[in-house]
């Protein structure tokens, strides 16, 4: 394609991104702001593709647009109708916003000036050289599940603890999700869910040799669950103690810990997978992590401890 067309596309993308970011913060209604934010996430994913970072693009689309959007929408549904702001408040807020924006713009310009001059060497070559020992062909998966697996372990811990902290805030506030506008929605949700599972499994399997892996797969499956839930389905997960779902929620973290420590039985060091079995280790951990991530993201979208038994609305 002609170079000027690509440049024009990039310029349009950047302009749209800036406009959507502004809309997400300053749109009149919260609903408009949330939708702007979701579209921003989608376009951001396109921007990552343009920057040759398809893994980041997948994660951005699944998490930035999908899961975060669902979280924001479900929070929005529970907010009481907002009182109209007094004009004075609005003006004060506008002034503060302009001040902050000026400050942020100044900071960003300074940072950009510095960043422009950075050499940005990166570790791509070293990772490629280490790939044969890592057990997979996709450098991103190799880094996430083997070379820097400890980072991933802590990140999955963050997700699990975010759910525990959310549950600690109290039971979920849910005014019966049965206010369905269209009778086709539940059917559509049920039809779509197997597709979500299929695509997630594909993305997970792909992670071994191409962009994909546990995080986008888990996020996709979680988003599918949220969709079915919004369409009126009753989830299996409950707040009851001894709920087997609690084991599935902690599975990702526990599996990584067991693998990291378990290799010690064969005289290896912390996190040192046997080289010839590394591929198997990574596959098992990816499946465990993806399952956990899917259910964790779904549990987050419930926005509180689910009831002990789904059924009667008064319990929720």
């Amino acid at each position: 394609m002609m170079a000027w067309a690509i440049t024009a596309f990039d310029a349009l993308l950047v302009a749209l991104l800036l406009w959507l970011a502004w809309q997400a913060i300053h749109a009149d209604g919260l609903f408009r702001a949330v939708i702007s934010f979701m579209v921003f996430g989608l376009l951001m994913a396109v921007a990552w593709v343009r920057l040759d970072a398809p893994d980041v693009a997948l994660a951005e689309a699944a998490i930035g647009a999908g899961v975060t959007g669902a979280l924001l929408l479900s929070a929005l549904g529970r907010l009481p109708e907002r009182d109209k702001e007094a004009p004075a408040d609005r003006r004060a807020r506008g002034l503060a916003a302009v001040g902050l924006a000026a400050l942020a713009l100044g900071g960003a310009t300074a940072l950009a000036t510095i960043a422009w001059a950075l050499p940005a060497p990166g570790l791509g070559r070293e990772v490629t050289e280490a790939l044969p020992k890592s057990g997979v062909d996709n450098p991103v998966t190799a880094v996430l599940l083997n070379i820097r697996a400890f980072d991933t372990l802590l990140e999955i811990g963050v997700l699990l603890l975010a759910v525990i902290a959310t549950w600690a805030l109290g039971p979920m506030q849910w005014s019966a999700p049965a206010r369905v506008m269209s009778p086709a929605l539940p059917v559509l949700g049920r039809l779509l869910f197997p597709m979500f599972v299929l695509v997630s499994a594909y993305v997970l399997w792909r992670g071994g040799h191409a962009p994909g892996g546990a995080f986008p797969a888990g996020a996709l499956m979680g988003a599918g669950g949220v969709l079915v839930f919004f369409a009126g389905a009753k989830p299996w997960i409950t707040g009851a103690e001894l709920d087997p779902w609690r084991w599935l929620l902690s599975l990702g973290l526990v599996a990584m810990l067991v693998a990291a420590v378990g290799v010690g039985a064969t005289g290896r060091s912390f996190f040192e997978y046997p080289v010839d079995l590394a591929g198997l280790f990574i596959l098992a951990l990816e499946v465990a992590a993806a399952l956990s991530i899917a259910i964790l993201l779904f549990a987050l979208c419930l926005g509180g401890r689910p009831p002990h038994r789904w059924g009667s609305e008064d319990e929720a």
């Binding site: 510095i114 083997n146 811990g157 603890l161 902290a165 902690s250 990291a260 060091s269 912390f270």
Partner: protein
């Protein structure tokens, strides 16, 4: 040695997950085993470091700059010892505090994972891994605050926004370092960062984020409501341990990564903020209306002394570390007593404390002993920490710090006696002491005695702190 470092992180992490998945007696058993195991692993690690010196561990056998490197030196071991010591005793206190309480259900998984996150932070030799550990610490600490509901919910939400902002600033600094040298390993960064402006900007961003998380004046606004409204065991953990995590990381990168870029201007600025924190925090503690608020503002003040090490350097470093440990013990004791007061009397109003020492004799004794260390009276850990800071200030003729430290000491005496004096007047016995009273009084007494005992163990601590020369030279 390598496995001791791994267990220090893995044991509390597994225990945290089990505390979420199990219930009943089995859950209690695994929590107890987790606390005992994590404490034992920490003790083993400290012994190894004291005996054999600093040691590196390349995770998974991947060497830097590719993989993550754990590093256990004297500074790491010192803070892990503080974490395990205070952590084990506060765990015992929490078991009594939450007995038969719904709130305790969320406390244990949050607290045990927080323990793992802090130990991970103390052991990592990797700038990005430290960021992930900071995130784990942040989400669990916010959960500990918000789980109390009511006013704590609002304070917790504000804390969440603050801690995320701090993490983002730190992460921006890490990104700059990576873009400059293509590595996030601390040692590689120390060697690779030349005299470029990028390193200065990175340090400024990271320092700003970490100072915000440490609640340094004037970025302390989030701390008093968060620490004062959380449940007492959570407050003890947050004030005694959590803010030490971000402070540790700042000390670590200042000395080990940016030693060539940490200029005097920035150091002086941090010292001046420290002095302002001592004065402002103490003044707010003197006028506070509730015991927990008083203790929380005292934390704002005590953080100020820690910052004085940056401009003073030299002996002030181990002095500030010693002071941090003494503060961790004494502050955990004070919040534990404040919790016991609130549970026995049903309130923690300073104006209505008259004669309360009759109800909680051991509790107020512990509060007074912790106060001795907090004020900095001999013999106590607080005294030795302040002494090292003062002598460093005298060596350099730093009049500002020479004046600020005694002034802060007087003000600390003022707010500690505000609680002790009315409690001892006209002793009254409670008509019916609660059955849990002793369990709520004994742990703070142990903590306060430990803060005093620090006054007699300076030389082994200095030897431990010098392992691996974390402060350069002889440290």
């Amino acid at each position: 040695m390598a496995w001791a470092a791994a267990w220090v992180i893995a044991i509390p992490c597994v225990a945290g997950a089990l505390a979420f998945a199990l219930r009943g007696a089995l859950r209690g058993l695994f929590i107890a085993l987790g606390v005992a195991g994590a404490t034992a692993a920490a003790a083993a690690l400290v012994v190894f470091v004291a005996r054999d010196g600093a040691r590196d561990l390349a995770l998974g056998g991947w060497l830097a700059p590719l993989g993550i490197r754990l590093r256990a030196d004297g500074l790491s071991a010192f803070f892990i010892a503080l974490q395990a010591g205070v952590g084990a005793i506060v765990s015992g206190y929490a078991a009594g505090y939450f007995a038969g309480d719904r709130e305790g259900k969320a406390f244990w998984p949050l607290w045990l994972t927080l323990w793992a996150g802090l130990c991970g932070l103390y052991l990592t030799g990797d700038l990005f891994n430290a960021y992930v550990a900071l995130e784990l610490i942040g989400v669990t600490a916010v959960g500990l605050v918000a789980a109390s509901g009511g006013a704590a919910l609002v304070a917790g939400l504000r804390y969440l926004i603050v801690t995320l902002t701090g993490s983002l600033l730190y992460l921006a600094g890490v990104a700059l370092v990576y873009a400059e040298i293509g590595a996030v390993d601390m040692e590689a960064a120390a060697q690779g960062l030349g005299p470029s402006p990028v390193a200065h900007v990175a340090l400024a961003l990271m320092a700003a984020g970490l100072l915000l998380k440490t609640a340094v004046f004037p970025m302390h606004f989030w701390l008093p409501p968060a620490h004062a409204n959380a449940a007492a065991p959570a407050s003890a953990i947050l004030s005694g341990l959590v803010i030490k995590g971000s402070f540790y990381l700042l000390v670590r990168i200042w000395n080990d990564v940016f030693s060539a870029h940490a200029d005097d201007m920035l150091a002086e600025l941090m010292g001046v903020l420290g002095v302002a924190a001592v004065i402002w925090g103490s003044a707010q503690a003197i006028v506070a209306a509730r015991v927990k608020m008083l203790v929380a503002y005292s934390t704002v003040a005590q953080v100020g002394y820690l910052l004085m090490a940056f401009p003073l350097g030299g002996d002030a470093w181990p002095g500030a570390m010693y002071f941090a440990a003494a503060h961790g013990l004494a502050k955990a004791a004070m919040f534990a007593v404040a919790g016991a007061i609130a549970r026995e009397l049903g309130h923690d109003d300073i104006a209505k404390l008259g004669g309360a020492a009759g109800t909680l004799p051991a509790g107020f004794f512990a509060f007074a002993l912790a106060g001795v260390s907090l004020i900095g009276l001999p013999p106590s850990g607080g005294f030795l920490g302040k002494w090292l800071l003062l002598s460093a200030a005298a060596d350099h003729d730093h009049m500002l710090y020479l004046a600020a430290i005694p002034a802060g000491t007087l003000m600390a005496a003022g707010y500690v006696f505000r609680v002790i004096a009315p409690a001892l007047a006209e002793l009254r016995r409670a008509p019916r002491p609660s059955p849990w009273r002793l369990w709520r009084e004994a742990p703070p007494l142990v903590l306060a005695l430990a803060a005093l005992a620090l006054g007699f163990s300076l030389s082994p601590a200095l030897v431990l702190l010098s392992r691996g020369a974390p402060f350069g030279g002889g440290g």
